[in-house]
Symmetry: C2
Subunit: 133 residues, 2 copies
DNA sequence: ATAAGGGTTCCAGTTACTGGAAGGTCAAGG
DNA sequence: CCTTGACCTTCCAGTAACTGGAACCCTTAT
């Protein structure tokens, strides 16, 4: 399989796959002409990577998960630990963003949004007491 | 005011303030000895930046907001437009993260998390049909 | 005189790609 | 046989927004 088929099959851009080879997440063989030759296992790993990345796992987490995947003797608790830590990070980000949204949404609601130069949003961001209405 | 006082007053690390000067978000004067001299206006702008960044506005958004702040004739609707766009981005991120969390949380719940090598999380990430239990 | 605790610049690294240039390879058509 | 177009290759640079560190200058106190 050439890189464009691998891209098609995994859902990753070819550029990204080359990058993943560079950082040694995948190690496809090469044909005589220098083209990368992806096996079914390579495709599987790339698909795995695409899914894990879509779930927000970092590249290093992905590397660890792939290693665990290959390690037939690993305990499922090892994987669970990584997943739970990541879940915590996601929860924290959601909480952060939710707080941002609430604050910003409040500012936006207090803004008349017309042609007048007086703007409560800028006031809220710039005043000494940002909680003041 | 020296940079460490400006950092204290604005809540930004000195490194970040230097960076903001480099990208021309602030333009403090210099003392004879070469030290940056921050005025009250500089501090105000830095505080503004700290708050806007904490709300997740990009640097370029911050630049625009600061320009609007200085522009006494600007309409509040200009500011509101930037804020609303950003609010949409935040909502989109929350939605993404929530979807991630739900999927991952489901995978974690199906994982027994003990010493057995069989791991539903890896299965979920690697199998052909990721929706399968 | 010197030591601590400021300040300065500049360079490199971070994350995870992405775009683009320059050039080799392959299959089809004329 | 040659060309054309679609592949493929490598390498270099850039993105966002800092952050760490080295090397060096300034100030103040002992």
């Amino acid at each position: 399989m050439n890189i464009s088929q691998a891209a098609e099959a995994s859902g990753l851009p070819a550029k990204t796959i080359r990058y993943y080879e560079e950082i040694e997440l995948v190690k496809p063989e090469r044909n005589a002409n220098g083209y990368r030759a992806f096996t079914d296992t390579d495709i599987h790993n790339l698909t795995f990577l695409a899914r894990a990345r879509a779930l927000g796992f970092s590249i290093e987490d992905c590397r660890a998960l792939l290693a665990l995947y290959d390690d037939k003797s690993r305990a499922s608790s090892d994987v669970r630990k990584i997943a739970l830590r990541h879940l915590d990070e996601i929860e924290a980000k959601i909480a952060d963003l939710t707080a941002m949204r609430d604050t910003l949404s409040h500012l936006v609601q207090t803004c008349h949004g017309d042609d007048r130069p007086d703007c409560p949003i800028l006031k809220g961001l710039g005043d000494d007491d940002p909680t003041r209405t």
